[in-house]
Symmetry: C2
Subunit: 196 residues, 2 copies
DNA sequence: CAGGAAATTGCTAGTCACTAGCTTTTGACA
DNA sequence: TGTCAAAAGCTAGTGACTAGCAATTTCCTG
């Protein structure tokens, strides 16, 4: 079913992304030019921009939030909202292949060190809150856009964010150590944020 | 005490910012070039960059989080953390002069409509969490860096963020309507996030 | 007030991300 | 094999931002 064209396109996309990641890791994000990446991937600079709208986008993925939403919807109806998020995250992480896991870690490392990328990831947080708010309201039988569901979604995302000290949306790639902290954070939130 | 030099500098800075804001509002952020701003403010483009490192920074302020931290520290010792945040915000808003308030609203409107700016504001959220976590731990007599304090800080910031549907850190400028929602959000958080 | 140090500004020339429009190549399919 | 459309390359820009140098302005001291 996959035509030659599609296969080639996928290969080009992968080549660009791989060389970009490698160069970012070797020389840093800012010091790597799009031309260098294009050269390494043996495409023209214009082709680079046809595949990725900006240099940053090479390391960003699109539909991660959506995956989480699906996983939350898949939880049994009786489960409480925060608990459902927690279980859903476990499912998502359990489904990660070793390669995917390793790739996530590399990306996470990049996010960690490059401010511009961190900013972009944060930006997706608003969307994450929107999505989560929708799912929470849905599960609780509340109208979409319900304020209390929104606040809970915000608190959940914020709690998740606090786990990775220097930023990075957990749903988008976390190290194993972070994963455990993530669980603890959501558990705390579930218990009404006890201190100490 | 203010030398001629300092006064001139302040005036130049204000001129650049005012003209930039005006042009952004009139023509949009992307459509406004630094050269235009420089022309309008009657300085050279290089001078623009001496005052503001990037075009975005013209609309961004620096120490807003610090103000909030001070206000939280000023709350009486017995008050619970979230409550302290709530009271502190009231104090901060009460202290705003009418002009400052109006300026904040203009900025808020810009953040609302310009994705790049939103991203930058979000970026400051991590710092906000760090600061808040410190203050919360301090007030609760916990060691700095305490995990539960961090999670609470994250949840608080997230809850505040959820108030403004399309982003924008509340502490940095909110419309009056937002202010009321902000209070409600923190109250909900305080009550352990009841739904409905 | 003179006159030099220090700060501030402007200018020049550049790099790099990104866009628009056009031509050339290459895979698809009759 | 010939034709059509997708994809890649090329050219020429724009605009944010930097580095370094020269001119100007404010400040300070004698």
């Amino acid at each position: 079913m996959t035509s030659l064209r599609e296969r080639k396109k996928a290969k080009t996309r992968a080549a660009i992304r791989d060389h970009a990641m490698r160069l970012f890791e070797e020389q840093g994000f800012a010091a790597t030019t799009v031309d260098q990446i294009a050269d390494a991937a043996e495409v023209s600079p214009s082709t680079f921009f046809r595949y990725f709208p900006t240099k940053e986008d090479v390391v960003l993925i699109d539909d991660v939030d959506a995956v989480l939403v699906v996983a939350i919807r898949a939880q049994p109806a009786g489960v409480e909202p925060i608990q459902a998020i927690l279980l859903a995250m476990r499912d998502v992480f359990a489904d990660l292949s070793p390669e995917a896991w390793e790739f996530e870690q590399r990306r996470q490392r990049l996010f960690h060190s490059v401010p511009e990328l961190r900013a972009r990831v944060m930006h997706q947080m608003t969307d994450a809150i929107d999505l989560l708010a929708g799912v929470i309201a849905e599960r609780a039988g509340l109208p979409p856009g319900d304020f209390s569901a929104r606040v809970m979604a915000g608190a959940a995302v914020g709690a998740m964010l606090s786990v990775v000290p220097s930023g990075g949306l957990p749903a988008e790639g976390v190290t194993p150590a972070d994963h455990e902290r993530l669980e603890r954070a959501l558990t705390l939130l579930q218990q009404g944020l006890p201190l100490g």
